[in-house]
Symmetry: C2
Subunit: 340 residues, 2 copies
């Protein structure tokens, strides 16, 4: 009888301990919102629904782990692109630097405008002009030498508005999406119009993305007998528009299940993602928060600042195709990790 | 006292159980040789030493997990390449098939020789001829349509000697090397002169290598408004010789720590691998076993069969550079998984 009573007490104690554990477990679960920088709303819900639908065994839209791929544009999707793409800042400063040893550049457009600091002429640069600038600043050196130049620049360069390294200006909510997807078996790729050798220098530190998952615009390289690879002034991959879909196929071999962008240059990537079977997710970041970041469109009457333009036609396409538009103003609780 | 005796007995029983476990453990360890299809010798030792040196914490040549990459040529390194590369077999049969709906091919070299079965003319095909054959058979269809054609062919095609599917003719010892490296944190890539869309159809089933880790010769693709990617008759990447090093950089972003090949077309990949810091491993498969597989050189006086040629100069380079030559005859206990 005493024995039974001890057992009874023990059972009660055990039951109490168990319920305490369950409570702890419940709180632990409630506390681990994977997207704490997001406000509740359609954008956050679309992400969570997508992950749950595609990773729950037995779900009709379950995606096997080997096929889980998500692709992210960089400029304007993962980090700030205003007042100018970070890589263009690097490129312009490197033109000026190169002109010290190559004075002939001072007389040749488009380099001459950069060296003279002619903002009027620079504002009219065409894509061909930009490709010329990229060729002269990104080629003629080995891949190791170029990486060293980027590493040195990115360590000291600061954004004119926040006076912080560019690598600090990555969006905390988007970093959470990347981690949430990876925690659920997704491989995450950067797929950017920026060049691959530039981005690869910092993507592992900034996004946790290793070099093999960085797809970008690429110059041809040439293997030399010394064992070094030389960067050549010859465009191999133009990773914009249709090029994004083509390069995703080249690097990954199949459609991504989820794709994130912010300009018409990302539309083909989103369409390619949506063309696959099962549940897919497409999202576009709309910069509508001048106070915490920048506001530009011209979608929804926002000012047209050219860099990273988001035209109304893209906004309309998103609605038509079921792509989710992320409003920075409404959907993000904070923009940067250094925000309160 | 009785209590103590029970304890004593228990201790003896426990000691016995423990030593039995240790013996089992010892045997289990002895039985889990990661390379059971290899004979003891310098080649097997080189592989085991490399893995231990680069993955033992505190080793001066330790390689961090994110940098562990090994690249493998396919034809003649991972599977049989005689009497003809598997993809060439596919290509020739597809030319004949296409000529039914494109009779004009019957009058145009090099297609005419294939359709007529003119072995004399075919034996003189240049690389340009082969690229023309690849262009007509691998382009003009969507990536999905091409994959379906390869899938159907590889399911029914049989090797003329073994009367087995080509996918059975993969080398068991090399499969073990791949698995051993993966078990130790290495990412394994196929890096082949064969085309990427052809290989990707079967690499996951045959090697456990997903599409994103298959680097090959690539035709350009074109994204279409329907969302399909069309294969174009335009060479984007020629993944041979220097192209192997260049494409490894494009896809992976850094040198592989280990590289495996069997022809001069792999030499640049091996040199690129060797140029990095820390311990590296380079190996070349020498086909010197006519009984169990094939024997061809002309290295070491073996017959020169053209396909997959291994010239004496490559053999000498290997010795000079410290690359390990794998002798199928001496180093492999068995060649195929269906061997005894």
């Amino acid at each position: 009888m005493r024995f039974a009573r001890v057992l009874f007490l023990s059972s009660r104690a055990a039951a109490f301990a168990l319920s305490a554990l369950l409570l702890v477990g419940f709180h632990a679960h409630a506390q681990t919102d994977p997207l704490p920088s997001w406000n509740d709303g359609p954008a956050k819900k679309a992400i969570v629904d997508f992950v749950q639908t595609t990773t729950t065994q037995g779900s009709p839209k379950f995606v096997p782990p080997t096929e889980r791929v998500a692709t992210f544009d960089e400029d304007g999707t993962m980090w700030v692109e205003h007042p100018m793409y970070t890589e263009i800042m690097f490129t312009l400063e490197r033109v000026v630097e190169l002109s010290r040893t190559h004075p002939e550049l001072k007389d040749q457009p488009p380099y001459s405008a950069v060296i003279a600091g002619d903002r009027e002429a620079m504002s009219k640069f065409t894509e061909t002009d930009l490709l010329k600038l990229v060729a002269v600043t990104h080629a003629g050196v080995s891949t190791d030498e170029f990486a060293a130049a980027v590493k040195a620049w990115i360590a000291k360069a600061k954004h004119p508005r926040w006076k912080r390294p560019y690598t600090d200006l990555t969006y905390a909510p988007m970093q959470e999406v990347m981690r949430y997807l990876r925690d659920n078996g997704y491989k995450t790729y950067i797929v950017s119009g920026g060049t691959q050798p530039f981005m690869r220098v910092f993507t592992e530190a900034v996004y946790g993305i290793t070099a093999d998952q960085v797809i970008g615009t690429a110059l041809a390289t040439k293997f030399t007998p010394s064992g070094a690879l030389m960067l050549e002034p010859k465009l191999l991959l133009n990773n914009n528009n249709g090029g994004k879909a083509e390069d995703i196929y080249l690097f990954i071999g199949h459609r991504p299940q989820a794709a994130f962008g912010n300009t018409p240059g990302d539309a083909e990537m989103l369409a390619y993602s949506q063309g696959g079977p099962g549940a897919t997710l497409q999202m576009l970041v709309l910069h509508d928060d001048a106070e915490r970041e920048f506001a530009y469109g011209p979608a929804q009457g926002l000012p047209d600042t050219k860099v990273g333009a988001f035209p109304q036609s893209l906004y309309d396409d998103a609605k038509k195709n079921g792509w989710t538009v992320i409003s920075i103003k409404n959907d993000w609780k904070r923009v940067f990790s250094f925000d309160q």
